[in-house]
Amino acid sequence: MIAATLAILRKDLRVELRAREAVPAMALFAVTAFVLFHFAFDRDALDGDVAAGTLWITLLLTTVLGVNRLFVAEREQGGLEAMLLAPIDRTAIFVAKAAALFLYLVAVEVVAVPAFALLLLGPDLLGSLPALAALLLLADLGLAAVGALVGALAAETRAREVIGPLLLLPLVVPLAIAGAQATEPLFTGSGAAEDLGRWLGLMGLYATIFVLLSVALFDFLLED
């Protein structure tokens, strides 16, 4: 199963490296959103809860873009049928898709977070970087699981461009809560997070639940 997962993941990454359909679009989306936030708030530098909220909302909305691409290309070109014909575990397809989404998100954040620090963030980023990185990685894990599940769920519907985002947005509310609450003290200038552990715990719980759910349910989405 691990070999199959790696094979699918390698294929997805190679396609992405060649066609560059998801990651550049997501990064561009995030940076453009920062520009929009600058004009919408009419502020040159953000800090505290507004900065935390801006960063997290932008990243969560960027995920929507990635999730929409995750299965659509596969379905349009018939890749999924071929994979289903192959004698591999269905769970491998899910793990590969989630892993691809996870890597996309990390790649986007490597671009988007420095861009955010450069364009909008008032306080210095460097001091809060370790805590922020831990939060982002854990959130990405949850997002990857939820995103792959929602992507597969929406891919079979007639109105998938609408159903996907509408499903994903309420589902990421707990991550928005934990992310924004934990990042806010990081961006107030003091730099130290008091309740970091508790929000990391919530994100960990979220990731665990959705990984287990997706692994258990994914088979049923790919029958036939």
Partner: protein, 265 residues
């Protein structure tokens, strides 16, 4: 089979609702802080609890569907979720009315239950669009079940997250559901909760009964149609086969299908 349970259920619901109304307005004492407005509590909170349990039950029934592959479980899950969505609207509206009456705003963000319900409502509002934008009925049932199970798990997780956010940013929490209610109030609340659960189960049975009948009707119709077609095509070739209906001429069925149906009596 659903119809038979409906009569005792409806009677129990009527009795329960009457008892609950009586207790709420004539037995339970007036709240010391909130006064008469606290009577919304006996409607709002049971509705919220029942809607929540309905979403969870929908998830469990969906799991049963995926396990047993019986369409009946999918129907049960669908109706439970559908009813819970309607109750959730009621929770939001009555909560909003209560907020306006006691705090002067139509919406308060520091009430975790209300906020959680808004988020869950927004999620489940996509259930029906998702369901009905999948054409194949078997796949529709399967995908809806996956949604229902994920939604049930998310409902619990979401409550935890919202409550954590609320206790963190707003240290003062209104103790609506406060643990130390006078016994008379608590009894009234329990009766109201039971009545609300009965309303839910009765309506659930009612809709399932109608859905089940429609499904069987559709099957019977297809069957009869095929038989009628076969009779026309085979020109009596199937005459030896026993038919459920004593020989109505095929020509009648064709004309009757297009003609307006005469009243049964």
């Amino acid at each position: 089979m659903y119809g038979r349970a409906l009569k005792p259920l409806a009677l129990a619901t009527a009795a329960g609702a009457a008892l609950a109304f009586g207790l709420i307005f004539f037995y339970a004492p007036l709240d010391a802080d909130q006064g008469f407005i606290q009577k919304i509590f006996y409607l709002h909170v049971p509705m919220a609890i029942v809607a929540l349990l309905g979403f969870l039950a929908g998830g469990v029934m969906a799991a049963m569907h995926l396990r047993t592959r019986r369409r009946a479980w999918d129907m049960r899950s669908y109706v439970a979720i559908h009813l819970s969505i309607i109750l959730a609207v009621g929770v939001l509206v009555t909560g909003s009315i209560w907020a306006k009456a006691s705090w002067g705003h139509w919406w308060v963000w520091d009430e975790p239950m209300l906020v959680s319900f808004l988020i869950i409502f927004l999620l489940y509002a996509v259930y029906q669009p998702l369901r009905f934008s999948i054409d194949d009925p078997e796949r529709q049932a399967r995908y809806a079940s996956v949604f229902a199970i994920s939604g049930a798990a998310f409902t619990v997780l979401n409550f935890v997250a919202v409550r954590m956010a609320a206790t963190y940013t707003h240290p003062r929490v209104f103790s609506q559901t406060g643990g130390n209610m006078p016994p008379a109030m608590f009894l009234t609340f329990l009766v109201a909760l039971g009545a609300m659960a009965l309303v839910f189960v009765t309506l659930w049975t009612l809709e399932l009964g109608s859905k089940n009948a429609a499904e069987r009707l559709r099957r019977a119709r297809r069957h009869l149609q095929r038989e009628a077609d076969g009779r026309e095509a085979g020109l009596g070739g199937e005459a030896g086969r026993p038919r459920p209906a004593a020989g109505a001429p095929a020509a009648v069925s064709v004309s009757a299908a297009s003609a307006p149906t005469p009243a049964p009596r």
